[in-house]
Symmetry: C2
Subunit: 157 residues, 2 copies
């Protein structure tokens, strides 16, 4: 598998790590196979997975948990300069949270158009719409998508 030229080596390392975590989580009935990480400078400062089922809290998506861990790692709520990595395109909640945290680069694997509808609540709005609706940010989607798409295609809850 060649590295996607749009990613740095560290970004690809982080993406491979969260994909591995998601694939393992997928085999456990109590876990959701979605994982995320946050990079700051030359380090992965946070990795997390979806905790909605364990916490009975619908806001505990992998990215939200990763953002919290990243703020704890840095000791501040401003994550400017950080990069968010996720196995699945961030939903509208996570995308907004990422922008509030000051993050302006997002890397993800599975893309909205290729996964079940349940992962998004405002499906007529695409990530490009959000990008042009405020201060622009950069994103790279679809990286290593073939490795995770089977996790997110099922339309059942």
């Amino acid at each position: 598998m060649t590295t996607d030229e749009r990613l740095t080596t560290l970004e690809d390392v982080a993406l491979r790590a969260v994909i591995e975590r998601a694939l393992i989580a997928h085999h456990d009935s109590d876990r959701v196979g979605i994982a995320a990480a946050v990079i700051f400078e030359d380090k992965i400062i946070a990795t997390a997975e979806n905790e909605v089922h364990q916490t009975h809290n619908p806001t505990q998506h992998a990215e939200i948990v990763a953002l919290r861990l990243a703020t704890e790692a840095l000791g501040q709520d401003d994550l400017s300069g950080c990069i968010l990595i996720s196995t699945l395109q961030p939903c509208e909640m996570c995308l907004a949270a990422t922008r509030f945290a000051g993050i302006d680069r997002i890397i993800f694997s599975a893309q909205q158009e290729n996964v079940a509808a349940k992962y998004f609540v405002f499906p007529k709005l695409k990530i490009a719409d959000f990008c042009s609706a405020g201060t622009p940010f950069s994103y790279v989607g679809g990286v290593r998508e073939e490795e995770v798409l089977h996790l997110y295609e099922n339309a059942a809850e």
Copy 2:
């Protein structure tokens, strides 16, 4: 002050309660004057305020905290049938979180067009855009707005 005819008595009681909490919080330099509540059937099952500063976590908006407390109160992550009340129009993160939780009625006081830009990250998208971008939900904004607008007009961080 007459009750807004668009609200039930309980909704107005809850809104007055969160406004009171926000006004008090505003006088404390460690707190942000934004508060939210969740109603289920004939009870206010959760009230909360913005905890971003206390937790150094940019996702801990009042609504996110209120949703978590509501799920704890009901013992489940599905908040279908609940009503979200907030002193400030929910940002894009909180709006999406509310919809993921299954809530389809939202009441708020201060409206986006009358507050500082910092409260939203995708300002070109309005709540009506979100409403028409997925399964519709109902919302009532601007209720008792004159009581709280001074809290949110300041453009400074």
